[in-house]
């Protein structure tokens, strides 16, 4: 089965959309990424990833309400598609399988 390749950043963005559920749009996603991962992402990079994901069919979008703080412009709200969901699950399964296969000596101990 063909599996769409996801880049690390795309994967994170896709997960963030899933995290935000209803309110996933550019600014919110950027903020959430910032908060969750601690890295400063540029809004343009987020937009680029969102549209790439949409082209790949992992996200779908619709235009939401216009608000005053946006200068009267509408937001594009994203949600994860079936394909996106499956891809995320696949990735997770592979990772878990890999984690399960690691022997205790395989990884140096890290103190959390």
């Amino acid at each position: 089965m063909r599996r769409s390749y996801l880049g690390e950043f795309e994967e994170v963005v896709l997960l963030t959309v899933a995290v935000l559920a209803e309110g996933a749009y550019g600014v919110a996603i950027t903020d959430e990424l910032d908060r969750q991962t601690g890295r400063a992402v540029s809004i343009s990079a987020v937009h680029a990833a969102l549209h790439r994901l949409e082209e790949k069919g992992m996200l779908k979008s619709h235009l939401g309400e216009a608000t005053a703080e946006r200068g009267g412009r509408r937001k594009r709200l994203f949600s994860v598609t079936m394909l996106g969901s499956r891809t995320l699950h696949d990735i997770r399964a592979v990772r878990e399988q890999l984690w399960g296969s690691i022997s205790p000596q395989g990884l140096p101990a890290v103190s959390l």
């Binding site: 550019g26 600014v27 680029a48 703080e69």
Partner: protein, 859 residues
């Protein structure tokens, strides 16, 4: 005031960002901007906003979303226009054909005439100094382009400010010998060293500054160099001229351009002959053209003002009284009709402008065709116009569409016209005596002018139909049926047809007048017998030749003279103090033998004809013509006999009076003429041949002559051919008239044909009903023709006075001309009638013969 992000950044984003992404991106950026303003202050927020906008300038956001919704472009509409135009042309091949052919013919004629006119008006302009070059001419009793050779040296001394003073001496004929080959060449000239500085020839070999400085040098034109020496280098080779001069080739120039008054095949340096010439006498018989180049700012009038003093100083008071020197601008030479005896015949500017007028008229006729057919046809396309309008076409678009279609047809016509012109160019020389090269078509000025003509044609032909067609009311247009009678412009169309008929008639009348004048030139009684007479240069040993001619059975009669009746070389002053005419007037002088008057059948009106004079007989008896005795104030011919006159400074007694005969072309009034016996001047032999075995007789004469003159080449000319040559210009004019009026007539007929056939289609139903009700074929043909007959008659009323006025003006250039009689007008209207009848009848008979069942069943 609410905080706003920096405007430049927003604008930048609007310009670059793909429209479908713009809203969300702008919204997100705005949201972040507001938050940052709250958190960090406006300055920071603006800075970050700008930075973020810049980050969006990457291909992913710039790429526009592919758009699949139909968005008609200008090209789509154009394609539609082309499709419709193509279909219309296919649907109505015959109209398209008529339009294109008519326009092509008109444009071809127009372009050709334009080239001719350009050529004519550009005469002698190839010289850089053309605008300050003048020919010095003499005005005594007459205008003479040749001045004595005495003038040049004196002019050089007395007018040192003249940049160049150049002597040119034209020779009608010369015999050239190269090796053992002999050639009889027409037209060459002696020219001095300054000549190449006055005229800018293209030098293929030799140095223009020195080529004509030394004696015994010759400069050949390219053609001549090729003729004599083939591909070999001509420079330095030797040429023998007239059996006496050995000349060294010192230069080769390109052949003369088509539009210069100069005419020579080669130039011999003036130094070669200068010593043999009379360089002192102002009224010397010898003379040539004298060209001067004045400095930039010197007006010729200032030079002319000093001429009387100049003549007085050099030649004395007496001469200054009777003569003036004029400075004739170089570029005027071709148009100045005052001087008739010159190398190339001048052409009046009126003729050239007349020709240009003809071009305009022809293109106008072609445009009228187009307008007529287009408006008549507009009804057929009213539905299309209606629909276009209903779908929201602007009037401007519809006008554009019609103009576009016109452009399409005109372009096709232009292409055909250019091909036709190219094909015709080689014939301009023999037919119109104007040499045009295809290369002229490529010159920028010509291309611009042709484009101009084409553009004007498009506008003339397209604008009116465009306005008519675009002006249809959509409701009416959609409701109307194609067979309804015409929409708009019927009066205009009638007017145009009248105009066209009128043009055709003017052209026909013009052609007929020129034709009858031509006939008058060549066939009218000249006052002497010109049939079967050949003349040639007597050569050496006239007495032996006389005996040979007497023995030749094919010779009816012969005569020796200085010149035949149709040649005039000698002019001399005459007066008669006894009869109260003290001042000199000019007369022709013909030195003849006793056979001259009987052979040419000159009619003696009084007194005795010329008789042979013995050696040493010093009596000076002359025969004169009627013009001369009228000048003396004698009305009765017989009264003149025995009167004394002074001819060429000597006393003479009039022994007889001869009826006036035409010694020059009919451009000029017959001049006074004196005939006298003088055996020293029998330069020309004229022989009247018996009509039988003409060829053998001529061959025998040639053989005998060549034996007597082994060095020379025998050349003869029939007198009637010589006379015809005098009217060369008129013949070319006649050719031009025939050609262009032919074209105008064809265009007119084409248009009429198209119009009638359209009319026939539009009136199909009417004809059907009429036939059902018992109309005959004849009455239907008449129905179609009646209107055109009326239009034709109206046109004639317009055309006749116009043509009469124009042609009368033309005829006045000739001292002797025909009268324009009613016969010519009658012929013209008859010709138009026949042409119109032929054109109309074909279509109308076709329409009348259609079975009414068919014509009424349609729809």
């Amino acid at each position: 005031m609410k905080n706003e992000p920096p405007r430049w950044a927003t604008r930048l984003l609007e310009i670059f960002c793909a429209p479908h992404l713009l809203e969300e991106i702008q919204g997100d950026l705005h949201e972040r901007f507001l938050r940052r303003t709250r958190l960090f202050g406006e300055r920071e927020a603006r800075l970050r906003y700008g930075w973020e906008v810049l980050q969006f300038l990457q291909p992913q956001f710039l790429k526009r979303k592919p758009d699949y919704s139909p968005k008609p472009q200008v090209t789509d509409m154009l394609r539609n226009y082309f499709t419709i135009a193509y279909r219309t042309i296919l649907q109505q091949k015959s109209y398209a054909f008529i339009n294109v052919m008519g326009l092509a013919l008109g444009l071809a004629a127009c372009i050709l005439i334009f080239l001719v006119v350009r050529n004519e008006l550009g005469y002698d302009s190839f010289n850089r100094k053309a605008n300050r070059t003048y020919r010095v001419t003499v005005h005594g009793l007459d205008y003479n382009p040749s001045v004595s050779f005495a003038v040049a040296p004196a002019f050089r001394t007395d007018f040192p400010e003249a940049e160049q003073v150049s002597q040119f001496f034209y020779q009608r004929e010369g015999q050239v010998q190269v090796g053992n080959e002999k050639f009889l060449e027409e037209s060459y000239a002696f020219a001095d060293g300054q000549f190449p500085q006055v005229f800018d020839f293209e030098w293929l070999a030799g140095n223009p500054k020195t080529a004509l400085q030394e004696p015994n040098t010759i400069v050949l034109t390219e053609t001549m160099a090729h003729k004599y020496f083939g591909d070999a280098d001509a420079m330095g080779k030797t040429i023998r001229l007239d059996n006496e001069k050995e000349l060294r080739v010192s230069g080769v120039i390109r052949d003369l351009p088509s539009n210069t008054h100069l005419n020579f095949n080669f130039l011999v340096s003036w130094e070669t002959v200068r010593k043999d010439m009379n360089l002192t006498d102002f009224w010397s018989i010898q003379g040539g053209y004298l060209y001067v180049v004045l400095p930039e700012k010197l007006h010729p009038k200032r030079v002319e003002a000093r001429i009387p003093a100049f003549i007085r100083k050099n030649w004395g008071k007496e001469i200054a009284k009777g003569a003036a020197l004029l400075l004739q601008p170089l570029r005027e030479i071709h148009f100045d009709k005052r001087y008739l005896t010159q190398i190339t015949m001048p052409r009046s500017k009126e003729t050239i402008y007349g020709l240009a007028g003809v071009a305009i008229v022809i293109i106008l006729t072609a445009c009228i065709n187009f307008v007529n057919l287009a408006t008549a046809q507009a009804v057929r396309r009213s539905k299309e116009v209606g629909i276009r309008k209903a779908l929201g076409a602007f009037r401007g678009q519809l006008i554009g569409q019609v103009l576009g279609e016109t452009t399409l047809l005109v372009s096709m016509a232009t292409l055909l016209a250019l091909l036709a012109v190219l094909a015709f160019l080689p014939f301009t020389k023999p037919l119109l005596d104007i040499r045009l090269d295809a290369s002229q078509l490529a010159e920028p000025a010509v291309i611009a002018m042709i484009s101009g003509i084409v553009l004007i044609t498009i506008l003339l032909a397209g604008l009116y139909p465009a306005f008519i067609q675009s002006g249809f009311q959509p409701i009416k247009a959609l409701r109307a049926r194609a067979t309804d009678t015409s929409v708009g412009g019927m009066t205009v169309r009638k007017g145009l047809v009248i105009l066209q008929f009128a043009i055709t008639q003017v052209m026909i009348i013009g052609t007929l007048v020129v034709a009858s004048q031509m006939d008058y030139f060549v066939n009218q009684d000249m006052g002497f017998d010109k049939e079967a007479v050949v003349s040639f240069w007597t050569g050496n040993k006239a007495d032996v030749m006389r005996q040979k001619l007497r023995d030749n059975p094919g010779v009816e009669q012969f005569s020796f003279a200085s010149a035949g009746p149709a040649f005039n070389f000698n002019f001399t002053p005459f007066s008669s103090p006894e009869l109260g005419m003290a001042d000199d007037d000019v007369t022709e002088l013909k030195l003849v033998d006793e056979n001259y008057i009987p052979m040419y059948h000159l009619e003696m009106l009084a007194g005795e004809p010329i008789t042979k004079k013995a050696e040493g007989d010093t009596s000076n008896n002359v025969v004169v013509n009627q013009t001369l005795i009228r000048r003396l104030g004698i009305q009765k011919d017989a009264d003149a006999v025995g009167k004394r006159v002074r001819v060429a400074g000597a006393q003479a007694i009039i022994q007889g009076v001869v009826r006036d005969f035409q010694s020059e072309s009919k451009h000029k009034k017959i001049r006074a003429c004196v005939l006298t016996y003088n055996s020293k001047a029998f330069w020309q032999t004229s022989v009247k041949l018996k009509p039988q075995n003409l060829r053998e007789t001529l061959a025998k004469i040639e053989q005998e002559w060549s034996e007597l003159n082994p060095e020379s080449i025998f050349r003869y000319e029939f007198v009637d051919e010589h006379i015809a040559k005098l009217y060369n210009q008129e013949e070319k004019m006649y050719n031009a008239f025939r050609l262009f009026s032919g074209i105008a007539i064809v265009i007119g007929a084409l248009g009429l044909f198209g119009l009638v056939s359209l009319m026939a289609v539009q009136r199909t139903k009417e004809v059907g009903v009429r036939k059902v009700l018992g109309a005959s074929v004849a009455s239907i043909v008449l129905l179609f023709s009646r209107e055109f007959i009326w239009l034709m008659l109206i046109a004639f009323v317009l055309a006749a006075p116009l043509a009469w006025y124009g042609m009368d003006l033309w005829l006045r250039e000739y001292a002797y001309h025909i009268q324009i009689g009613p016969a010519i007008f009658l012929a013209a209207i008859l010709v138009t009638f026949v042409i119109a009848a032929l054109t109309v009848s074909y279509q109308s008979i076709k329409a009348a013969l259609v079975d009414p069942v068919k014509s009424l069943r349609s729809e």
